[in-house]
């Protein structure tokens, strides 16, 4: 048996969930139809959620659980100063303070957990508003087209014309910095990105035969939207929800770095900011770096879970 072939690579499933079949080389040689069909059958089985997905869900569960029940769990008070006489804070991680303390001897573990309450709330409200209003507007625009579409799309484009964060900066600079205003501001900013995708998804489904079929059966528009379109649009949207939440949480962190986040209480951004100065970073890196890791893992988990959901439900009509 001799193998005088081009030594390239075969692609089964890549991390973004794309499925390709047959042999694909940098040499660009693809196999015949027979093997393409054979591989397509096999590739379908690879479309599971996967171990990574469940690990991500587990982490998210821990974070959400801790954040939700923080006041009743045995965490130290996030605002108290636990100064040990004779030693100047900040204190490195130890048995007493698992994440260490910041320069004012506040326990970082509890600040991270209580900060999660704020950051996650902001994330949830932001993406919730985005899905609700943006989703609604997007579906209206995508389904009814015409005048609706033109107006709504223009609104979307206006909001999307602002570079990231800039509009958030403007609004939060002008208003009081409470949890409510920050959440709502980010919520308003989520409407356009979510709405745009909702619209695109709706358009792609509205053209399909099952909608046409429902119409010819005499179904009212509202019925079509609710029974036929919504379930189909919701699936990519829920994957988007997880991704969007990650973006909102990061946005809050960014705002905190500009001094524009919630004034009262810790948030992830503020906790990280506390330790970001050069001197603190050098002497006590844990103040910034541990919360950064927590934030990073959460964002990673949200991104990953969202991505896996998307590829799991992404039923390709034609095997590549």
């Amino acid at each position: 048996m001799s193998d005088g072939n081009i030594h390239g690579a075969d692609i089964a499933v890549d991390a973004a969930g794309l499925t390709a079949t047959g042999g694909v080389d940098p040499n660009g040689v693809s196999t015949s139809d027979a093997t393409a069909q054979a591989n397509a059958d096999g590739a379908a089985s690879k479309r599971r959620l996967g171990v990574g997905f469940w690990i991500a869900v587990f982490w998210l569960f821990i974070v959400f659980f801790a954040a939700t029940f923080a006041p009743w769990l045995p965490f130290k008070d996030p605002d108290s100063n636990y100064i040990v006489s004779g030693e100047r804070p900040p204190y490195a991680p130890s048995g007493a303070h698992l994440f260490g303390t910041d320069q004012d001897a506040r326990d970082l573990l509890s600040r991270t957990v209580f900060g999660a309450r704020v950051s996650l709330t902001v994330g949830l409200v932001a993406i919730g508003m985005g899905m609700l209003f943006g989703g609604f507007m997007g579906i209206m625009a995508g389904y009814f087209r015409g005048w609706w579409d033109r107006v709504i799309s223009f609104i979307f484009i206006i909001f999307l014309s602002f570079p990231a964060l800039v509009l958030a900066i403007l609004i939060t600079a002008l208003l009081e910095r409470s949890l409510r205003t920050i959440s709502i501001t980010l919520g308003i900013l989520s409407i356009a990105p979510v709405g745009r995708i909702a619209r695109a998804t709706t358009i792609s489904f509205a053209d399909r035969e099952f909608v046409l079929a429902a119409r010819t059966l005499g179904a009212k528009n509202s019925r079509i939207i609710i029974r036929e379109l919504l379930p189909n649009v919701l699936i990519p949207m829920s994957a988007l929800a997880l991704l969007g939440m990650a973006v909102a949480v990061v946005a809050e962190g960014g705002l905190a770095f500009l001094g524009l986040s919630v004034e009262k209480g810790p948030t992830w951004g503020k906790v990280i900011l506390t330790g970001a100065g050069s001197r603190d970073l050098q002497k006590a890196p844990w103040i910034a770096i541990i919360p950064i890791i927590v934030l990073f893992l959460t964002v990673l988990a949200l991104n990953f879970a969202g991505d896996r959901i998307r590829s799991y439900f992404d039923v390709r009509e034609t095997a590549l």
């Binding site: 005088g4 072939n5 042999g23 196999t31 027979a34 069909q37 054979a38």
Partner: protein, 362 residues
């Protein structure tokens, strides 16, 4: 290997040995469903300057055969047997070794010229690329050669074409450019994979004539892969008919058309609509679908679809047997002309089915 090996090829040829020799070539693909036997034992040989037509339906393995010989297969492919080119066994060559042959000694013209030419690269550059690569030409010489090649393939206004992009040319012209590219370094073996399928009928003839002309001028061997028996009729010296990855009939062209043995070949022949047929003649088709190449049926691959099949056909695979002419081989238990065939043929005609009208079979 470099350009001087080209000359070696010629020297080897003088001894009269065939340019290309395939012995029991098999190409299998590893897939999740199993091993796909795309080419399952093909033996042929081709002399310098000769033209071979490889005919079959899609899925018959004809394209894989061509690419197997050339070595342009993905890494899921596993080859067996031997492929001797100019006396050298190239089956086991790595891509690196084959690269010296590609474009220089053997080249391929592909089916769809719109997709087969780089849409963002000027025509001239696509032609001069192999010239610079294999023959070491400088830009001026290469451009002049490219110009001459365009003239050889009869493209009008060749100077203008050099700077144009593929989408600015018509389908027929693009195919001519593909041929020019393939001929650029003067290969000894040219593969043409369905070169006319994507073209208008009038242009088809021109392209085939062009290939034939170049073959004669350059003493080049040609392997013409197609599903269309009509295409190979006037342009080949020998024809190999493939079905289900196997060679089912192989003969010099004239012999094949005069004396086809395999019922499959006959039905291919009949499925070509003829201008001389009266209007509204039913289009004769071969019912059924090509065999599953992972689990081929027992016996003859064509038996499930063959109107002349008898029990033995479903159980034992017919070997390739020669006729009186040793160059004509076929694989069938009850070929055309045999008593069983004639009996069945009579039966079919008696029940009102014209031999031309296979589509009426349920």
């Amino acid at each position: 290997m470099n350009k001087n090996d080209h000359i070696q090829t010629d020297r080897r040829m003088e001894s009269g040995a065939p340019l290309l020799e395939l012995v029991d070539l098999k190409t299998h693909f590893k897939t999740e469903r199993g091993l796909v036997r795309a080419v399952d034992g093909v033996t042929l040989s081709l002399k310098r300057g000769e033209s071979l037509g490889v005919v079959g339906e899609s899925g018959s393995g004809k394209t894989v055969l061509a690419r197997s010989i050339m070595g342009l297969l993905p890494s899921t492919a596993v080859k067996h047997g031997s492929v001797k080119f100019a006396g050298q066994d190239i089956l086991g060559f790595s891509a690196k070794q084959m690269r010296h042959l590609w474009g220089a000694e053997m080249s391929m013209v592909f089916q769809n010229p719109l997709n087969s030419l780089n849409p963002l690269m000027k025509i001239g550059k696509q032609i001069t690329e192999p010239l610079k690569l294999h023959l070491g030409m400088d830009k001026a010489t290469a451009t002049a050669t490219a110009l001459q090649l365009l003239r050889d393939v009869r493209i009008p206004e060749p100077e203008r074409r050099l700077n144009q992009l593929p989408h600015e040319l018509s389908g027929g012209m693009r195919q001519r450019v593909m041929i020019a590219i393939a001929l650029a370094c003067g290969p000894t073996l040219l593969f043409a994979d369905e070169p006319t399928t994507a073209l208008d009928v009038t242009v088809q003839a021109q392209i085939l004539d062009l290939i034939g002309e170049q073959r004669r001028d350059r003493n080049m061997s040609v392997i013409l892969v197609t599903h269309d028996l009509g295409v190979v009729a006037g342009h080949t010296d020998q024809i190999a008919v493939m079905y289900g990855g196997k060679l089912v009939e192989h003969a010099p062209t004239k012999t094949l058309f005069a004396n086809m043995k395999m019922p499959y070949t006959k039905s291919l022949m009949r499925s070509i609509p003829k201008l001389s047929d009266p209007s509204h003649t039913r289009l004769a088709t071969i019912p059924g679908r090509p065999p599953d190449l992972v689990n081929p049926p027992l016996g003859c691959n064509f038996a499930p679809r063959c109107m002349y099949a008898l029990p033995k056909c479903h159980v034992e695979e017919p070997p390739l047997t020669p006729t009186a002419d040793p160059k004509h081989v076929y694989a069938c238990w009850y070929p055309v002309g045999s008593p069983e065939f004639e009996k069945r043929d009579a039966e079919l005609q008696a029940t009102g089915y014209m031999p031309e009208d296979f589509s009426a079979v349920s």
